[in-house]
Each structure stands twice: as C-alpha cells, then as structure tokens.
Amino acid sequence: MEAVPVLSIFAENKPGKLEKITEVLASEGINILGFSIISVKDFGVIKFLVDKPEKAYQKFKEKGFTVAKILCLGVELEDRPGGLYEIVKLISSKGINIESALVYVAETRKKAYFVFEVENLEEAWQKLKNEKVNFLKASDFINE
C-alpha cells in the first residue's frame, strides 16, 4: 500500500498555539511539505506532512504535545483547471469519504499531490489502487 504518514496535533484554540507548534519543526530543521488546520470552536487539529515525520513525532512527544501519526493516501494532481475536481470525483465515485485533506506541492507549477485521510484506509486503497493515477510514495519525500 502506498500510504504516507501525516502528523496530527491536538491544539486548544489559543493565541500563539500554531507558533509554538511550528517552532518545534523550525528549530529541528524539519521541512513542512503541506499542512491543514481544522478548528471546532474551543479546539482544533493541525496536520502536517513533513520530510522527517519520525523525528518530528518524537520531538512533539518530548515537548509534551498531544500528537498522533495517521496514514493517508496521496494522489498526484494535474496542474490545470479541473485537476482537483477530477481526483475528488474519482474518490467520491468509489464511495470513499474524505475526512481531511492537504495539498503537497512537490514542484511549483509542475507537480502536486492531494493527500487525504479516510476512515478505512485499506478499503480505500483496494478501491483506488488499480486506477490510473500516481500515488505519493513515502520514499518520494521522506528524508531521514
């Protein structure tokens, strides 16, 4: 399965929270490749695709953050009008519900990936694996 690790951090909705989180990555020389923020009033979840996910996970733990690793699927997007639409249409046509998503721009104006979280990873993979799309591999971006 071509699943990729995404870090997910629980954060209370307070000023300076995102700053503290990104500071950890900056000070450890970890590159953020893509991120998303979901907020529900008093708390939120911040997700990161990074080049050193294992190191980032350990550092967040050490510093007392509430962090988890989730596996996501990444599918390449074409950089043209309708690029995202076609990928999302493909995913929904398989009855797969996207729980959260982020975009990873691998090469500016050339190559980007739609990285998304589903409830049942295995099932989603089985439904998509034979489609004519390029999946993001962990080895494409992980550098540790």
């Binding site: 995404v6 997910s8 629980f10 954060a11 008093d42 979840v45 509430t66 989730i70 979280e117």
Partner: protein, 433 residues
Amino acid sequence: MEKRYFNPKIELISKEELRALQFKKLKRLLNKVYKKVPHYRKKFEEAGVKPSDLKTLEDIRHFPFTTKEDLFVDYPFGLLSEPLEKVVRLHTSSGTTGKPKALFFSKKDVMAQAELIARSLVMSGATSKDILQNSMTYGLFTGALVMHYGAELLGMLVIPAGPGNTERQIELMRTFGTTCIHMTPSYALYVASVIQEKGLKPGVDLKLKRAYLGAEPYTEETRRKIEEMLKIEVFNCYGLSEMGGPGVGFECPAKKGLHIWEDAFLVEIVNPENGEPVKPGEIGELVLTSLNREAMPLIRYRTRDLTHFILEPCSCGRTHVRIARILGRADDMFIVRGVNIFPQQIEAVLMGIKGVAQNYQIILEGYDEMIVKVEIDRDFFDGRIERLLKLKEEITEKLRQAIQVRPKVELVEPGTLPVSEGKAKRVIDKRTL
C-alpha cells in the same frame, strides 16, 4: 488472608460492650465539660439539659451541637477543659477567612491518636518492616505529624518528606525503598503521572505497596486509577483537625467504607438542614464526639462532611462502624440553574469515561453557565477530530444525566489545567449575579 490486629481486644469488641464503653465515656465527658468549660455549660443550660439527663446513649441527641463558630468563642483557649500546662501540642485548621481554628492536645491525646493510626496501619496490612514516606504538610496541619507519630508507634521507618518537590519524592522512594506513601489523592495522581512519564516500573524501580490517601474527597474511580498506575493498594483515610487529624476513619482491606474507631468517637449522621438523625443508611452530615480527648473534647461536632453508614457487618471482623467515603463537603456544594451539585459527582462521571485524563476544572460564569474543562488522555488521541467530537458529546451527555444540567464541555491538552499539590481547586465561580 491472615488477619492481624494492633489492639484485638478493642477492635473486635462486641457491639454491646462497645455501647456500654461509649456510654461510660460519654457520661464522664459531659460531666467534665459541664464543670470545666463555661461555654459548654452555657450551651447546655440554654438547651435545658444537664449531664444527668443522659440515661442512654441515644439521649445524646438532646445535647447541643458544637459548630465551627463555637471554636472561636473565648478564642483561642476557651474550649480547653484542662489547664494549659497539660497541653503539649497545637494544631490549626485554616478557614477560608479570618483566624484559624485552634486545636489543643495533651500528651495523652497525642498518644491516643497515634494508637488509632497504628491500629489503622496494621489493619491495612502494614508492619514495622514497612517504610512510610509521609508527604503531607508538616506543621500546623495535623495530617503529617499525627500520621508520623502513629507510624512510629507501630515501628515503621518514617521518611518525613513533606509535600511537593516531586523529583525529590521519587528519588526518596527509589533510594530508601519506600513501601507506603501518605499524601493527598490529587498529589498522588500527579506523582503517579510523573513516575509514568519517567518510565519507572512499579515493582521493579519502586517498592511501593500501599498508599494512604486523604485530606480531600476523591472517588472510587480515582482510587482505581492510582492503584493501576502505581500497582499498589490505595486505602482511603479520613480525618479532621478538630477530631485529632487523620486516624478518625480508615479503610480495612475489604475497602467497603471506612471504619471509625468507636471507642474514641461517638458517631452520628444528621440531616444538615435540621440536625435530626437521618434514617439508617441515608446520606447526611457526619457528627462526631471525641470520647477520649482530654485537653479539648468536642461534643457533637458538625463536620460538614457528607456520608452515610454502611450497616452490614464487616468481613475484617472489626465491630467498629463504617461510613461511606466522604461524598462532599456541605460547603463544596454549588448551585447551577437551581440544581445542587457536588464536584465529586462530576469527577465520578469523568473518571468513568475512556479518553479522559486525570484533571478537570469547573467554571461557572455569565448567567448560570457551567463550563467543564477536561484534559484528554494523550494515548486516546489518534489524530482524528471526529473521535474528539464524539468524546466531547459523550462527556456532555453523561454529565447531563448525572447532574440534570447540561454543561458546556471543553477539551484541553493534557497537563494544562492546574494541579494543586494539596487540596485541589476544582470549581471557579465567576458568576456575577
């Protein structure tokens, strides 16, 4: 299991003999305070009773209660029933405002309370081979010193650690092989979480067997949590400075309620509103008379602590009455939208929910809004927001069922709510009505 007793003659005394003993002691006590303490004499006269009116133990109900306010009449020595030269120890108990309650003990009082502790420690399974780390506050507060004397009487090695400085606490435990700890439950939770964070293995890195936790009310769930985290047995102990500190109520290995040593205390439970005895087994305010106290006995003292009797005979063989763990302070109660709520009700619900860490805070604000801040369990978080939303909904619904008020639940990160190393401050009332 082998049954051991520190003072089997008293601990296994028959109910009839116990009642006769109590009657004899009570009679003598009433005579003494009537004669020697002007304030008691005045109160008895106002209530129209004399010590000779006590014909049976039940007649105690005709005698007036002693309340916190009485302790401030002719302060600080007004309630002494012995000359000051017989007094060897002062303890105080801080009120929220003003002067502290001043409690005095004679040499005999100090040793008598130590015996109650020694009995209780043996009851829990401890022997003179055990090592007790005493992490209550030494000083004016009774908690540490009274336990200290009792443990020494039994012959335990006592480490007078005092509270706080968690790093040092754990270091002491490791260096000296502490087997028993005495602290508040909220601090025990904190210490246990630090031990876990350090990756120390109970049973391997630590030799802990038992914890005596008291000085603030806690729930059965909290007990289980601490027992699991530290792989120990937790014994609930109850006391109040007015009654000599810890050693008033103590659990036996059956852990179904706390025995109160009835040769030392006359125990009543009354309706907090009108002072009438409640029906057997009903919840009410604990009222205690210190039968052995020499320097400053208290007659029918209103503890403000809520509990109920446990009526069945205890499997440990001791005949002394049991009360349920303290369900709340009559003063802790707060009212939201007309409903009486105790923090312990909230705690009981939270501790029963998977995904919730050990700390919580209740904030009352605005027009009777109740916010419950709950720390999530680090291991519960799997990265998905849906799971958090479900948890929040579950907490809200279970709290609504338990207290009949729908609170606003806020999930917060573990370790962000204040942990008090002492009596936990759980309720913050910001309402301006």
